[in-house]
């Protein structure tokens, strides 16, 4: 750098000189042409009078002053224009446009582009809802933003609740709170206060939830950031973004590099001062060493590797918002998963039926690929008819092409489930209902807890009416006097009642919502055709009915989830369920997907089994644990830590947003790297607090997506497993990439050290180093990101962030002091070869520096007595740069090959399986050739066309690197745990 600069300046002067000369030549040409024109002058030939005429002057009086001014105006002043030198700004611009400077410009532009992309991604659109507000006694449609506390607003089905509202009047109003609490069932809203917790009470509707049906009027009690959801959002933004593990790793590593660079630089600064260099020179050495030591290309490599993986993940429906999150997923050791929508399908589905005194399991898979139950029984037909007829849900029209489970239904969740179920079982329910014309219906209400409808029969000869009813099972049973068993109506005896109770409890304990179904054929004499049924008076039989069966429904787990949870478990990742739903449902789903494994018991289970009080159970015996929000509230953080430590299988139910945050923090305290999945606004603080927040793309709210680092486009938990795999792979591959990138720092550094201490002509220039760092070696180091995993990474434990560092001691030592050392020797061998073959023996080179770099010494003698001018030596020096460059390139090819694996032999991994790597090597060679042989390179980037054989000098060293590393890997494989393994496995 030192001398390089001064050479450059010298060269620059030369160039400027040349350019000045050229300019002068042009000027001269112009002037010559002007002179030629002036040859036409005939002023000397004409008479005085003619002259006076021509210039309108007088030989006696001269010009008039006005004329003179006019002519001055026309011709300009009588003076020679000063020759134009190169303007200062052109000189300045030339300084900015040099070869090296251009590299910097490109880097700067890339930075700006990167910022632009980041910036454009940042903002999300805000909403503008309308709200129906009653002011001055009149209904007005106003912008929801203009609502104030105290406003009276009206909401109806389909509206978004415009603020937090205390309900004053409601009619069949149901609100979807899923984004706030995670409950998948719509909550009915009534004016009564039913719970002390505002989140649970029925008389408050929350901002940003959706009213599904009914109407309600209420007073606004909170607006904007003061609403519950606003508070959650500000809680989310208040939670600091945690540093990702990879950021910590890179920081750690940058610290090492910077420390070492300054250490080396300073050492050699002192050495240089000691040897007797001037202060300024020593200072320049210091800078040069720092430049040579800092891996300029590394951050680019890391970013590109991460974005490649991000792209790969995007193809698998994981969109990564924050690049570093890619790796975080790989080091995740705990996943806190929301239940609704992530583990489950987020749609009620019929799961079980009880008829003929047997519990039948329905097919709950998303694509109806599961087993169905025996549908031959007569009872089933009756039950299906009741379920189909006593149902107000309808399909939206024009969906015939869609598979039934995907069709959109108008109606509440359980009716939807029943409609889809009957549609699948019987087919075309719409038409079926046409055949049984509905005469009257009584909708569900919370006092009688049933719903009934009366239908005509499809057989026109049969004039009886059919009354069908469904509702809370115990209420239904009360109204029944018979029960249908195998198509036969039997009197409802105690034995059936007991059987009913057992089944009801069984289904309830599965976390399922159970409905009872019954029917009766109304007596045609009592209720002839045309009888006026009155739904309010209920002037018809509503007791002594025939019980048909029970149907239970649940939001079933996604088909892929149990498998994915299993995979997480083998990968050493703990899956914790954190949900706002009820403990029983949560536990049932947890058991279903394998979060609570078969045979695991909770403390309560053990207590029941051993018939002892809960307090006497040894908590450590229980693998599983279900903690509800209420219990959590009373726990100290130590107790929570203890619970998380002692129970490997955890389910948290009924949790509030703050509690989710507490759970995440607790996991992090225990040293885990935590991933949180969620979709609702209630999840957003936890998403933000987590090391990696994963939001659901379909069901997820904007708040959740904003807070998350990653978005699952298909809402599928299984995608997380793919993410984990990719994250682990990229961690491994980054390690390889970094090892590759670091290696060449030593052969870049040693030339300076030798140059300073032994005073040989400089073997490697600054620009050459930058070309290696930023051009030739980028692609190969990125190509390592495409390397396949060496072993089954999904069977290993997650890395321990405190011990398994990205860059560890042995990686640095192996890269720097072993492979890097071999590369340096390769470079020097080639350097001395090139010098010796041109006439400079190695021993002559030692101590030659001051003569070699003397600009005024034009006859320096080489080993053969030949005399070299300064410029000839300079080009010889450039030749040395180039051969050193080529040596590093050749060795780096060997290096990239050995970095493909850390443990396996490369023959096990396959030489050419990574096509990108192969093309990277080809690219590297082509670029090396271009730099060497492209005309003009000597003066732009200081590359000289070198002789073919100098390419081959470093090859033995390349082979040495390859063989040595194979031996290393062999030792590591053969003797795990040995000294060799400890020191040389990185």
């Amino acid at each position: 750098m030192s001398k390089g600069d001064s050479y450059d300046m010298f060269e620059m002067n030369g160039e400027v000189d040349v350019k000045m000369k050229k300019k002068k030549k042009i000027k001269k040409k112009d002037r010559l042409e002007g002179m030629k024109k002036e040859m036409d002058i005939d002023d000397h030939e004409i008479t005085i009078e003619e002259l006076e005429m021509r210039y309108t002057t007088s030989v006696t009086k001269g010009l008039t002053s006005s004329k003179a001014a006019e002519v001055l105006e026309r011709d300009g002043p009588n003076e020679l224009l000063p020759p134009k030198g190169t303007p200062e700004y052109v000189k300045f611009a030339r300084q900015l446009a040099g070869g090296l400077q251009c590299l910097m410009w490109v880097a700067a532009v890339i930075c700006f582009i990167a910022f632009g992309i980041e910036f454009s991604r940042g903002t999300l659109g805000c909403f503008d809802d309308q709200a129906l507000v009653i002011r001055d006694g009149q209904k007005n449609q106003i912008n929801a933003m203009d609502l104030v506390v105290g406003d009276l607003v009206e909401i109806k089905g389909g509206d978004r609740v415009p603020a937090d509202i205390r309900i004053i009047f409601a009619q069949g109003c149901k609100v979807d709170n899923s984004s706030l609490t995670g409950e998948s069932e719509p909550q009915s809203k009534t004016p009564e206060c039913t719970h002390e917790n505002p989140l649970e009470t029925k008389n408050i509707a929350f901002f940003s939830t959706t009213c599904l049906e009914g109407v309600a009027t209420g007073t606004v009690i909170n607006t904007g950031d003061r609403t519950i959801i606003g508070r959650i959002a500000s809680l989310a933004s208040g939670v600091g973004n945690e540093k990702t593990p990879i950021a910590i790793e890179i920081e750690h590593f940058v610290d090492i590099i910077a420390g070492l660079a300054i250490f080396f630089g300073f050492t050699f600064f002192v050495v240089a001062m000691f040897i007797g260099y001037a202060f300024l020179e020593a200072m320049i050495f210091f800078m040069a060493i720092v430049v040579a030591y800092v891996p300029e290309g590394l951050l680019a490599t890391v970013t590109v590797c991460l974005s490649l993986t991000a792209k790969r993940l995007a193809r698998k429906n994981c969109v990564v918002k924050n690049l570093e999150a890619v790796e975080t997923l790989g080091s995740t050791s705990v996943i806190c998963s929301d239940k609704t929508g992530t583990l489950t399908q987020n749609r009620m589905t019929v799961a079980h039926l009880w008829f003929d005194n047997v519990i039948h399991a329905a097919d709950t898979t998303e694509d109806q690929s599961g087993q169905s139950f025996d549908q031959s029984s007569e009872t089933w037909r009756s039950l299906a008819r009741v379920a189909g007829l006593c149902n107000r849900a309808i399909f939206k029209p024009n969906q015939e092409s869609l598979p039934i489970p995907r069709r959109i239904v108008v109606g509440d969740a359980s009716e939807t489930a029943l409609l889809k179920f009957t549609e699948l079982a019987i087919g075309n329910m719409m038409e079926y209902r046409e055949r049984f014309k509905k005469v009257v219906e009584v909708p569900f209400n919370s006092t009688n807890k049933f719903q009934l409808s009366v239908h005509e029969l499809e057989d026109p000869m049969d004039l009886r009416y059919l009354l069908v009813m469904k509702g809370a099972p115990e209420r239904i049973l009360e109204r029944c006097s018979t029960i249908l068993i195998k198509g036969q109506e039997m009197p409802l005896e105690e034995q059936w009642k007991e059987a009913f109770q057992t089944s009801y409890m069984d289904l309830g304990s599965l976390g399922e919502r159970v409905l009872g179904f019954c029917y009766i054929y109304l007596n045609e004499n009592e209720f002839p055709r045309g009888y006026k049924f009155d739904s309010d008076e209920m002037n018809f039989t509503t007791s002594g009915l025939c019980f048909a069966g029970l149907i239970s429904m649940i939001d079933p787990p996604r088909a892929t989830v149990p498998d994915a949870v299993m995979k997480c478990r083998t990968a050493g990742i703990r899956v914790v369920m954190v949900t706002g739903d009820h403990p029983i449902t949560a536990r049932a789903i947890a058991a279903n997907v394998g979060i609570i494994t078969e045979g695991s018991e909770t403390v309560e289970d053990i207590a029941t089994r051993k018939r002892i009080p809960v307090e006497q159970v040894n908590r450590r015996d229980a693998r599983a644990c279900v903690i509800s929000g209420g219990q959590l509230k009373d726990m100290s953080s130590e107790e929570l830590d203890e619970a998380l430590r002692s129970h490997p299988e955890m389910v948290f139910a009924r949790t509030s947003p703050q509690q989710k945050l507490i759970i995440v923090e607790s996991c992090q305290r225990l040293g885990s790297i935590v991933a949180v999945t969620g979709d609702g606004v209630n999840d957003s603080p936890a998403l933000k607090k987590a090391d990696i927040g994963i939001a659901m793309g379909i069901a997820g709210s904007d708040a959740a997506k904003n807070a998350a680092d990653m978005i699952l486009l298909d809402d599928n938990f299984a995608s997380i497993v793919t993410g984990v795999e990719q994250g682990r792979l990229i961690f491994d591959n980054l390690k390889k990439s970094i090892a590759y990138t670091l290696t060449k720092n030593i052969p870049e550094l040693t030339p300076y050290l030798i140059y300073i201490t032994v005073s040989v002509p400089l073997p490697l220039g600054c620009i050459t180093i930058l070309m290696i760092e930023l051009a030739t070696d980028i692609f190969p180091s990125v190509s390592l990101a495409y390397e396949k995993a060496e072993s089954d990474i999904m069977h290993l434990k997650p890395r321990n962030p405190r011990k398994d560092r990205l860059v560890n001691e042995s990686l640095a030592a192996y890269s720097y002091f072993q492979i890097g050392a071999i590369q340096s020797f390769a470079g020097f061998t080639d350097y001395f070869t090139a010098m010796a073959q041109e006439g400079w023996y190695p021993l002559l080179c030692v101590g030659l520096r001051s003569h070699w770099e003397n600009v005024h010494l034009q006859d320096l003698q080489d080993s053969y007595g030949q005399e070299w001018t300064y410029a000839q030596r300079l080009y010889q020096q450039y030749t040395c740069y180039t051969v050193f460059f080529i040596s590093i390139e050749i060795c780096q090819i060997a290096d990239v090959l050995i970095r493909k694996t850390r443990r396996l032999s490369i023959f096990q991994q396959g030489f050419f399986r990574n096509k990108v790597l192969v093309s990277a090597i080809v690219f590297q060679l082509l670029l090396g050739n271009l730099l060497c042989y492209c005309p003009g390179m000597p003066n732009i980037f200081n590359f000289m066309p070198i002789r073919g054989q100098w390419w081959f000098v470093p090859i033995p060293y390349g082979i040495l690197i390859f063989v040595y590393d194979e031996i290393r890997k062999l030792g590591v494989r053969r003797h795990p745990g040995s000294w060799w393994d400890q020191e040389l496995y990185y």
Binding site: E809, F825, A836, Q861, G865
Partner: protein
């Protein structure tokens, strides 16, 4: 060198952990093992390196470098050396030009007659320019070769010998420059085939068996200020009988022919840029190398 400096316990315990007797994170035994490993490793590497360099040296000829593409065509160098491409002094102040005269004197000492008396090493090659003297193949077993004598007296007033000006003209404002063509093994300079390339003023010095040298003003406006330039030396150029050069090993006593250039009438107190060029069929000039086959020099001579 260690990556875990910020491990548990901070710097101090990392430096010396008395509990586990660890220095920089390793025990004595561990340090011994790793250092032994590196000793062996570097020993092997150094062995390979030295072996390769030895093998390389074996492939080299003792007489002639493998390649000469960087050193040829030859450079044209001059004594005294310019400083920042400039020779400036005051005729009235000896101090200002002492360094120039001294360096010429030292340089010419190599050409003293007493040094050229050994008949085994030197021979007379005539007083007039002649053709190349072939002294056999480089690699033949003839061994050391004789070299042609070069007499300082040929440099006339610039020889700096007794009776002549010891100040090489500097004192009178008529400075001498001694020019030589850089040595290149086996290089046979060829005189220009015609004198078209040589400026008119130099035509008289274009003759057989001599590489003519000619200096002229670099800037047009200096044309009238540089005055007469005189050339001394055999044939006022580089005579061919001194070529080819057989290298340091075979001709350690080799003296290359010199040309003294005396600027007899330079204008005082002005910066004058001059360019001297040697002309020949295999002489080349390069924009990047200002000393290849030519040199630039800037004179500023003050007389007050």
């Amino acid at each position: 060198m260690s990556a875990n400096k910020d491990g548990d316990g901070g710097w101090k315990s990392f430096l010396w952990n008395s509990e586990r007797k660890e220095f920089l994170g390793r025990t004595g035994g561990s340090w011994f093992k790793i250092l032994l490993f590196y000793l062996i490793f570097y020993g092997c590497l150094a062995g390979i390196f030295i072996g390769t360099i030895q093998a390389l040296l074996l492939t080299l000829s003792n007489y002639k470098p493998t390649y000469q593409d960087r050193v040829a065509p030859p450079g044209l160098s001059h004594t005294p050396r310019s400083e920042k491409f400039e020779i400036s002094y005051n005729v009235n102040d000896v101090e200002t030009y002492l360094k120039y005269t001294k360096s010429i004197k030292e340089f010419l000492e190599m050409y003293d007659d007493e040094r050229q008396t050994d008949q085994m090493k030197y021979e007379d090659c005539g007083e007039l320019p002649g053709s190349y003297i072939d002294r056999g193949e480089l690699e033949s077993d003839v061994g050391a070769r004789k070299a042609c004598r070069f007499k300082r007296t040929w440099l006339g007033p610039c020889a700096g010998l007794g009776g002549h000006d010891e100040n090489f003209g500097f004192k009178d404002g008529k400075p001498c420059l001694i020019a030589k063509l850089n040595r290149i093994i086996n290089f046979r300079p060829r005189p220009p085939t015609n004198n078209a390339s040589v400026p008119e003023a130099g035509h008289i010095r274009v003759q057989a068996n001599v590489m003519p040298i000619h200096c002229q003003n670099k800037r047009e406006e200096d044309a009238s200020k540089i005055g007469e330039i005189k050339y001394y030396g055999m044939g006022m150029g580089f005579p061919l009988q001194y070529y080819p050069y057989y290298g340091k090993l075979l001709q350690p006593q080799y003296l290359q022919p010199l040309v003294a250039i005396q600027f007899t009438n330079l204008s005082f107190n002005e910066e004058l840029r001059l360019e001297c060029k040697v002309y020949g069929a295999n002489i080349d000039y390069s924009e990047k190398d200002r000393y290849q086959g030519r040199f630039d020099v800037k004179f500023t001579i003050a007389n007050s």
